[in-house]
C-alpha cells in the first residue's frame, strides 16, 4: 500500500509540537543535557534535538516502565484490602522523534507482552501512545538495523514518520489511523508532498549479516564452545538489558510503607547471576557464558520461533553501554559463520 505523504515545514513542526502539548498530551522527546542525548518528558520545543544518533537508554520506559505499579494494598487488623490500579488514567503520550529502530522495538515488546496472555498494563500504555518517528540521517558503527530487517527510514512501528529533506523541511509519511488523526487535526500545518525522494536523505547502514542465517545456526549451537570463548570478559551486569528496547525480563516486588504498599513490576536481566536461582540453591544457569548464550538465543532463536519477532532491532545500545566491549554486532557476524 502506498503511504500518504505530506510536507511539513520546519516552522510548522514547532506548531505541531505545541498543539499536541496544548491538547493535554504528555510528550517524550530527545534533548541534550549534560552532554548526553536522552528522551525527557515535556521538554520545551527549543530543547528538542533532531540530530542524535542514538540515546543511551531505550524508550521502553514509556510502555514498560522501570517500575510499574501493579496493585496497591492496605493492611490492618481486619486483613488486607487490595485496590486495582486504574489503567484508564494512563496519560496519552506522544513519542516525538523516535528513530525507526526504536519504533520497531515496540513491536518486539508487543510480541512478548501480547502473546498468549495479554498484559493490560503494557497494552493500555501502548494504546495511549502515538509514535512520531524520525528517520536517521547519520549512524555509527554500532548500528545494524539493516541486518535485522529494518532500515534508517523504516516506517514499521511509527504512526507518522518524519524525514529531514535537503531543504531543512520534513517529509511526513502517514502510516496508521492514529497518525492520520493527528494530521487531520492539524491539517493547516501540512502541505502537499514534496518531489524529493526520502532515500537520498537517509544514513547508509551496510547490511552485515543475515539474521535468518544466524537463527538457523543457533538451532544447533547450544553446546558450541563459542559461548565460553566469547563471554570470558562479560561481567554479568544488567547494562545491556536495561538499555535494550527489546529486553523485557522483569521481577515482581512488594514495597510497603507502614500499612500501605504497592506490588511493583521492575526491570530485571537474564544476565544477572541470581536470575534463575531456585530456592534450593540449584541454579540452572550457573555461569556467565550460559547467561550470555541465553541473551543471544532468546533474541535470535527462541523469539523468532515463539513470538514471531526478533528480539533485537539493531540499535547498538548494548554495545555502546557495555563496560567491557561485548559488541553484539561483532558476535552476530561471527555467529553467522560458525559451524
Amino acid at each position: 500500500m502506498e503511504l500518504e505523504r505530506k510536507l511539513i515545514k520546519k516552522a510548522s513542526l514547532e506548531k505541531l509540537y505545541q498543539k499536541l502539548q496544548a491538547n493535554g498530551n504528555k510528550i517524550f522527546a530527545p534533548i541534550i543535557k549534560d552532554g548526553k542525548t536522552e528522551f525527557h518528558y515535556n521538554p520545551s520545543y527549543a530543547e528538542v534535538t533532531y540530530d542524535h544518533i542514538q540515546t543511551i537508554q531505550s524508550l521502553k520506559n514509556t510502555v514498560f516502565p522501570k517500575i510499574e505499579n501493579l496493585v496497591r494494598f492496605t493492611t490492618d487488623r481486619n486483613g488486607t484490602e487490595v485496590t486495582e490500579v486504574d489503567l484508564a488514567k494512563v496519560p496519552s503520550l506522544v513519542l516525538w522523534g523516535a528513530h525507526p529502530c526504536d519504533a520497531a522495538g515496540f513491536k518486539a515488546l508487543k510480541s512478548i507482552f501480547m502473546w498468549d496472555y495479554k498484559d493490560e498494563y503494557f497494552n493500555s500504555r501502548m494504546n495511549k501512545m502515538v509514535v512520531i518517528g524520525l528517520s536517521c540521517y547519520k549512524c555509527d558503527d554500532n548500528c545494524f538495523c539493516t541486518s535485522v530487517g529494518l532500515n534508517p527510514g523504516a516506517t514499521n512501528g511509527s504512526d507518522i514518520l518524519l524525514t529531514k529533506l535537503s531543504t531543512g523541511d520534513y517529509l511526513a509519511e502517514i502510516i496508521t489511523e492514529k497518525g492520520k488523526e493527528i494530521v487531520n487535526a492539524a491539517a493547516e500545518l501540512f502541505e502537499a508532498a514534496p518531489a524529493e525522494a526520502k532515500e537520498g536523505n537517509l544514513a547508509q547502514v551496510k547490511q552485515q549479516f543475515s539474521h535468518e542465517k544466524v537463527t538457523k545456526n543457533l538451532a544447533g549451537a547450544f553446546e558450541h564452545p563459542f559461548w565460553v570463548e566469547n563471554s570470558l570478559r562479560c561481567i554479568g551486569c544488567g547494562a545491556c538489558a536495561f538499555v535494550c528496547p527489546a529486553c523485557a525480563c522483569f521481577d515482581i516486588q512488594d514495597e510497603t510503607k507502614g500499612k500501605t504498599g504497592k506490588r511493583l513490576r521492575c526491570w530485571d536481566s537474564c544476565g544477572f547471576g541470581l536470575f534463575t536461582i531456585h530456592t534450593s540453591g540449584h541454579n540452572p544457569r550457573e555461569v556467565q557464558s550460559q547467561r550470555w548464550r541465553q541473551r543471544i538465543m532468546h533474541k535470535f532463536s527462541y523469539m523468532p520461533e515463539r513470538n514471531e519477532s526478533l528480539g533485537c532491532i539493531g540499535c547498538g545500545r548494548c554495545s555502546r553501554a557495555c563496560p567491557v566491549d561485548m559488541n553484539i554486532l561483532e558476535q552476530l557476524i561471527a555467529l553467522e559463520k560458525i559451524q
Partner: protein, 268 residues
C-alpha cells in the same frame, strides 16, 4: 483466599487448605492436575507452588510449601482464618485421560510429593480408570516425609502399593520402610514397564538419576512424565525467568515428558 486449615507436615513444611472468600470466584475456579499458582502475602511478595489438592475435591485448594525465603517465611507466620492472595491456575496438565486403562507408577522425592499428590488423589478418586497404582516416595530423613497421614492411608489401601524410603542415615530405629536413594530403591523393586506410565517429581538431581533406571526397566521416553520447578515470577510467559530453550516452564510446562525434556537444553 482464606486459610481454612493449616497442617504441619514436616519441620518447616506446612500445608494450607485455602477457600475462596467470594462465592462467585469459587464457582468459576477450575483447574487440572499439574497446574500451579502464585500465592502471595501483600507486602512480602509472591511465591510459586503447585496446587497440591486434587481437582476432584471441590470447594478448596491446598498447597504445601517449605519455609525458605521471604514470602514462604511470611506465609508460614499466618494463622488459620487469615487471607492470602492467589493467582492461577497456570501451566499445563498431566494428561490423566490418556492414561486410562494403564498402570501408574509415581516416583517422588522430598518436597516434590505435593505436585504429585494432586495427580495421585485425582487418579485415586477415579480409581476404576486405572490398573495398578504404585507410589515410591523418598525423603532425606523420616522426619522430612510429608503427608504422613495420607501415606498411612495409601499404605492401608489394598489398591495402592506404597514404598517409602529415606536416604541412608535418615532412618529412625523403628523405621519400617526402605533405606536408600530413590533411584536405587526403584532399581531394587523393578516395577514392570508394561502398560505403565511413570510420573517422576523431585529435585533435579534425583530426576536426572531416575530416568536412566526407568529406561533400563523398559520405559519409553514418552511414558515418563515429570514436572519441572523452575524459578518463576509471572506465571504466563513474560518475565523470562523460567525460559528453558524456546519453552517457558510456566506456560509449556510444568509437565513435560522425558522425550520433551531430552530436546530441551540442560537448563533446568
Amino acid at each position: 483466599m482464606e486459610v481454612e486449615k493449616i497442617t504441619e507436615e514436616a519441620p518447616e513444611v506446612k500445608t494450607f487448605r485455602l477457600k475462596f472468600k467470594n462465592h462467585e470466584d469459587a464457582e468459576k475456579f477450575e483447574f487440572k492436575a499439574g497446574q500451579f499458582g502464585e500465592y502471595s502475602v501483600m507486602g512480602e511478595g509472591e511465591s510459586t507452588f503447585c496446587i497440591a489438592s486434587a481437582p476432584t475435591r471441590k470447594g478448596y485448594i491446598e498447597c504445601t510449601f517449605r519455609k525458605a525465603g521471604r514470602v514462604t517465611g511470611a506465609l508460614a507466620n499466618l494463622e488459620e482464618g487469615e487471607t492470602i492472595g492467589f493467582r492461577g491456575p497456570y501451566g499445563n496438565i498431566f494428561p490423566i485421560d490418556e492414561w486410562k486403562g494403564k498402570n501408574l507408577l509415581y516416583i517422588a522425592g522430598g518436597i516434590a510429593l505435593p505436585p504429585m499428590r494432586c495427580v495421585i488423589w485425582n487418579t485415586l478418586d477415579l480409581r476404576e480408570n486405572y490398573k495398578d497404582i504404585t507410589i515410591i516416595y523418598g525423603a532425606r530423613t523420616v522426619n522430612d516425609l510429608v503427608y504422613k497421614q495420607e501415606l498411612k492411608e495409601w499404605d492401608e489401601r489394598p489398591d495402592v502399593k506404597l514404598v517409602t524410603t529415606v536416604d541412608p542415615g535418615g532412618e529412625t530405629p523403628d523405621w519400617k520402610g526402605e533405606v536408600g536413594f530413590v533411584p536405587t530403591v526403584l532399581e531394587k523393586i523393578a516395577p514392570s514397564s508394561k502398560d505403565t506410565i511413570a510420573i517422576v517429581c523431585g529435585p533435579p538431581i534425583m530426576i536426572k538419576y531416575t530416568f536412566p533406571v526407568l529406561e533400563k526397566l523398559g520405559f519409553t521416553e514418552d511414558t515418563i512424565f515429570t514436572t519441572l520447578e523452575n524459578r518463576m515470577k509471572c506465571g504466563f510467559g513474560k518475565c523470562g525467568r523460567c525460559n528453558v530453550g524456546k519453552y517457558f516452564v510456566c506456560k509449556d510446562g510444568p509437565v513435560f515428558t522425558y522425550k520433551q525434556l531430552k530436546e530441551l537444553p540442560d537448563e533446568y
